[in-house]
Each structure stands twice: as structure tokens, then as C-alpha cells.
Amino acid sequence: MSEYRPSALRGLLALTGRELKKWAKEPIILLMAILQPIIWMGLLGKAMNINAIFSASSLSNVNVPDISIPEYGITIPGWVIKQKLMDAFNSIGASVMQNVFGVTDYFSYMSVGMISMIVMFTTMFSGMSMVWDRRLGFLDKVLSTPVSRGAIIFSKVLNAALRSMFQATIILALAVAFGLKVSPTFNPLNLFGVYAAIFLLSVGLSSLFLALALRSTRHETQMAVVNLINMPLMFASNVFFPTSMMPEWLRAIASVNPVSYLTDAIRQLTILPLDVSVLVMDFAYLGVFAAVLFAAGITLSWKYLTR
């Protein structure tokens, strides 16, 4: 009836509520989504124990013979030398870890990367849900109501962002339980920064995937796009390894990859000694990325949702 004024906010909340309700009704989806980073954390973070490689325990079966220096009439027992060597190796190892990863344990480093990974996977499926809504006719029905076209896109973006933030919380809590070490500069208020960074990347990435899905009716196409993009996005970034160790061409890709900036921002806020200038840079990049893609997504939705 014309006396009701459908506001954009009302429609946005209704559609976002629908997505979240669907999500809450299928806890298995949440479980599957967080299982993957947990597996990575176990396999790569714990099993591939990089700090153990660079610690003295990897020298334990080296046999150092006694050294005698007849000129002075002394004999240095092998175990003393070995002890000295191990001490030296430990400090070299710690320094290598510190210089490469910024922290002395790899688990802390990569488990923060897992937060980026879950944001990536969650946002990728927003495009997929758009395709399903179109295929199942739900989108056509929504389009025949006076709800703002922008609200349709925005609700998917918001849903992806909220889901990412919720899942990231679980991952972060699990990482702490499994031994993530926060830096001395960490302050509980930093968590707001973490959420803000996650929000920005989620908005950017889900807008991108939604824009790709706007006119698509085939979920296979979306699957192919997601599969094609997710590996490079994850590995051409600092999620698992620092970009400083990468060859030039890969570092160039990683330096424009927004995932690198999210990962770095969260590391700055949690495990690294905070460097404010770097953090500001990270946020600036994420902010621009989110703003540009979101604007593009909304504009395209106005243009292309009605065929």
C-alpha cells in the first residue's frame, strides 16, 4: 500500500536478517567454515614447526668430540662445546625468526593469517548466494517489491562482514588457546581495530564477488572464479610467509593484494610490537579498497539487477 514508505534501511535490515537467520539455522555451515583454518593451524602451524628447526633441539644428536690442546695441557670436554654451540644456535635461530617473521614463533604468525583466510572464504560465498537467489527465484520476487536495489547488494555485503567478524573471533580465541603469543604492546582495545580491519576487507571482497555474480545464473561459473582466485590471493600474500622473502614479481603481487594488508594490520594489533605508521598505511589501503569496490558494486547493482 502506498501509505507505507519502504525505507532503504528497513529493507536492508530485513534482508540481512534473513541471511543471518538462515546462517544461524545451519550451524554445520559455521562448523565447516572454521574447520578449515583450524586444520591449517594444526598442519602448518603446529606440525611444520619452523621454530623447532631453528632451535638447539635440532642439534641434539650432533656428536662433538673432546678437544685437547696439548700446548696448554688442557682438554675441553665435548659436551661443553656442544652446550656453547647450542646456546649460540638458539640465539641465532631466535634472531632469524625475529627478523623473518617479526615474532619468534611461527604459530602466532600463521594463525593470524588464518583470520584473513576465513574472511576470504566467507566473502567468496556471498557471490554464490546471489547466484542461488537468482536461480531459486527469490531474487525475482525481491526485485518485484519496492525494496531499494542497493539494499539487496548491501545486505549480502553486510552479512558477509558480520559472518567474517564472528568467525574471526572464534579463530582468534582458538589460536590464543593453542598458544598464540600476543606482543607486549597489545591492548584489549586493539580488538576494535581488528574488527574494523576485517570489516573493511569483507566489504571490499564481497562487493567484488557480488559484482561478478550480478548477472550470473550459473553457480559453476562462480565456483570456477572462486577456485581460480582463492589460491593466488592466499599464497601471494603474507598469510603464510613474509613477502620480504619472495621473489620480486611475487612481492609485487603481494604488495597490491588486500589480504596482505588485513593480515599485517591484525599482526600489528596483536602479535607484533605496534608500528603506528605501518598500521595507518594498512588501514588506508583497506579503506580505499573497500570504498572503491563497494561503490562499484552498488552502482552496478542499480544498473544490472533489472534486466
Binding site: 507505507y4 519502504p6 530485513a14 534473513r18 538462515k22 531459486l136 527469490f138 518485484s144 545464473t217 533489472t306
Partner: protein, 334 residues
């Protein structure tokens, strides 16, 4: 019957690859009437509806609903219409009640109004008992009824129903027919429906447009369309072996008489009135009518007359239909 509620002029939709789905269609729907679009699958019915409900942009021509242009004032159109789509569009993961409330929210109806209204509509479509069950547990008929309830949530002035009984069993179909009749009778709602069931168009619609290959080939009330064929067919036989063609032709309303073997095939207007007169005329002259049959032309005859093929023949198999729809959807999205 008052003013025109839907006005369509030269409406055309050409999809990519040059497929003309709707070809310069013009018609108007009056206030309070049930207007039917009848045609085989793929004739352009759904495409026309989608243009009227502003989901699809016309390539050419113009259309307005309640005076609002479907392109320029699309958001005004969306506010005043209700849509019951051909597919089941409710969200399967939500309950019936949640789905209706979601629809209400999209129309911006305040919750205090929509909660009450949702319950009323669930009562109307007899889903009250299942309102808190997930839609995925609903049968086809229940889903269709839910779609109907969703389509009515904003108390629309015009309701669009796209194939409202497609794939339903006879009982459920009858129930849907009842709802449609009630909407017209009790609320005076204007209804625009598409169907490829002749009986449905005949039983429900005040006026019908027969559409084939994107063109309207005939338009009128079911009665007019049938009478347009030249009336009913009366077949009689008499005991006497004499040609009485001329005598029969002298009866009012008789259009045509043909003697076929021992019987006469008579085309006459209002056959049920004319047949007794013919018998009486023959009896007065001393002839004895031994057999009589009266057939009213069906919409199928009308369809046959205009397209040269039977409606049933024109229908594709269900698989072909689905395949066709899929291609259409893809074509549209390009």
C-alpha cells in the same frame, strides 16, 4: 467495471540473439476484472508479466499499472502490485510465517500491522497450522498458497499471478481457484493471470487474451471468443429420409447447416435455446427427431481456429519446457 488499471501499448521484448519473446502486444485491463493470458509454454506470457511487474525492461512500447509507467515509475508500480510468481520463491530455510514477515518488511509495512496481517493471510490460505514449519517441508500446493499469501501482504490493488496452478493436483488447483474467486468477489481486486490451462482460463477469467509466439491473436471474454466461432454445434438425426436443411436454416440464430450421412450438423448461436426451437419446428412439420447432441465450442476450438493447431499439440513436454526456461533465463541475463 471502471477505468483501465493496466494499459499496454506495443509492448515488445527482444532478448539477446534476436529472440522476440513478446511482439508488439497491446491490451488493457479494467478495474476489478480477472484478465487471463492464455497460451502454450514459451508463448511470452511470463515475459509480459515480468515487464509489467518491473523485473524486466521492455525493449519497445510502453505499459502502465494504475497510471504508473513500468519503466519510469517502477518503484511506484512495485508498491501497489502484488506478485505470485510461477516458481516457488519463498526461502526454504525460513518458516512460512518468517517468509511473509520478510515480504512485509520489504514493502516497509510496520511490524504491528504486518504481524496481524500475516496471521490473517495464513488463515486465508489455510496454512496456520504449518506457519512455524520450515518451507522446505511444505508440499507444492502449500508453497503455492504461501506465495499467494506473500503476494497479498501489501493489500495490492492489482495482483499478478503467473501460472498459479502449474504442476498442482486437481484438488489443490480447485482450492487456488477458490481463493482467486474470493479475492475478486470480496476485495474487488484486479487480477492479471497467465495460464496454459484452458479450463482455468474459462472458469476464472472475465476476459482472455490468447497469446502465441509473442503475439495476441484474440482477446475477449471466454463467451465472446467461443461465440466468435459462430456458435454451438447441434447435431440431429430425423427418422424420415428427407432433406430438411432448408427448414432448419429458416430457424432464427442458425448459421449453417450441413447434411452429413443421416444427420445434420448445425452451427447456431446460443445452442441451448436454439435446439428446442429446431426440434419444435421439425415436429410441427411432422418430422420425428431421433437423436440430438449439443456441443459448446471450447477454448481449445477457439485456439484451434486462430492458430491452426490444437493447444494440446502446441504444448511441449515438461522436460522441454524446463530446458526452454533455462535457456530463456540465461538469455535474459546476458
Amino acid at each position: 467495471m471502471g477505468k483501465d488499471v493496466i494499459e499496454v501499448e506495443g509492448l515488445t521484448k527482444v532478448f539477446n540473439k534476436g529472440f522476440v519473446a513478446v511482439d508488439h502486444v497491446s491490451f488493457s485491463v479494467k478495474e476489478g476484472e480477472v484478465f487471463g493470458f492464455l497460451g502454450p509454454n514459451g508463448a511470452g506470457k511470463t515475459t509480459t508479466v515480468n515487464m509489467l511487474i518491473t523485473v524486466l525492461k521492455p525493449t519497445e512500447g510502453r505499459a502502465s499499472v494504475l497510471g504508473y509507467d513500468v519503466v519510469k515509475q517502477a518503484s511506484m508500480v512495485r508498491k501497489v502490485i502484488g506478485v505470485v510468481p510461477q516458481e516457488y520463491t519463498a526461502d526454504e530455510d525460513l518458516t512460512g510465517y518468517e517468509n511473509i514477515i520478510l515480504c512485509a518488511d520489504l514493502y516497509g509495512i510496520p511490524r504491528e500491522v504486518s504481524k496481524k496481517r500475516a496471521l490473517e493471510l495464513l488463515e486465508l490460505v489455510e496454512l496456520t497450522r504449518f506457519k512455524d514449519k520450515r518451507v522446505e517441508t511444505y508440499s507444492g500446493g502449500m508453497r503455492r498458497r504461501l506465495e499467494l499469501a506473500c503476494g497479498l501482504i501489501n493489500t495490492p490493488k492489482v495482483l499478478f499471478l503467473d501460472e498459479p496452478t502449474l504442476g498442482l493436483d486437481v484438488q489443490t488447483r480447485a482450492a487456488i481457484w477458490d481463493y482467486i474467486k474470493r479475492l475478486k468477489r470480496e476485495y474487488g481486486m484486479t487480477l492479471f493471470m497467465t495460464t496454459h490451462y484452458l479450463e482455468e482460463a474459462d472458469a476464472l477469467c472475465d476476459r482472455i487474451a490468447i497469446i502465441d509466439h509473442g503475439r495476441i491473436i484474440a482477446i475477449g471474454s471466454p463467451k465472446e471468443l467461443k461465440e466468435g466461432l459462430g456458435g454451438d454445434i447441434i447435431t440431429i438425426s430425423i427418422k424420415e429420409d428427407v432433406d430438411v436443411s432448408e427448414l432448419i436454416r429458416s430457424v432464427d440464430n442458425v448459421k449453417d447447416v450441413r447434411r452429413e450421412g443421416g444427420s445434420y450438423r448445425i452451427k447456431a448461436e446460443s445452442g441451448e435455446v436454439t435446439a428446442p426451437i429446431i426440434i419444435e419446428t421439425l415436429r410441427r412439420k411432422g418430422y420425428t427427431v431421433t437423436r440430438l447432441s449439443l456441443t459448446e465450442p471450447t477454448l481449445n476450438d477457439v485456439y484451434l481456429e486462430y492458430t491452426g493447431k490444437s493447444m494440446r499439440d502446441a504444448e511441449e513436454s515438461r522436460e522441454a519446457f524446463v530446458a526452454h526456461r533455462m535457456t530463456l533465463r540465461r538469455a535474459r541475463s546476458k
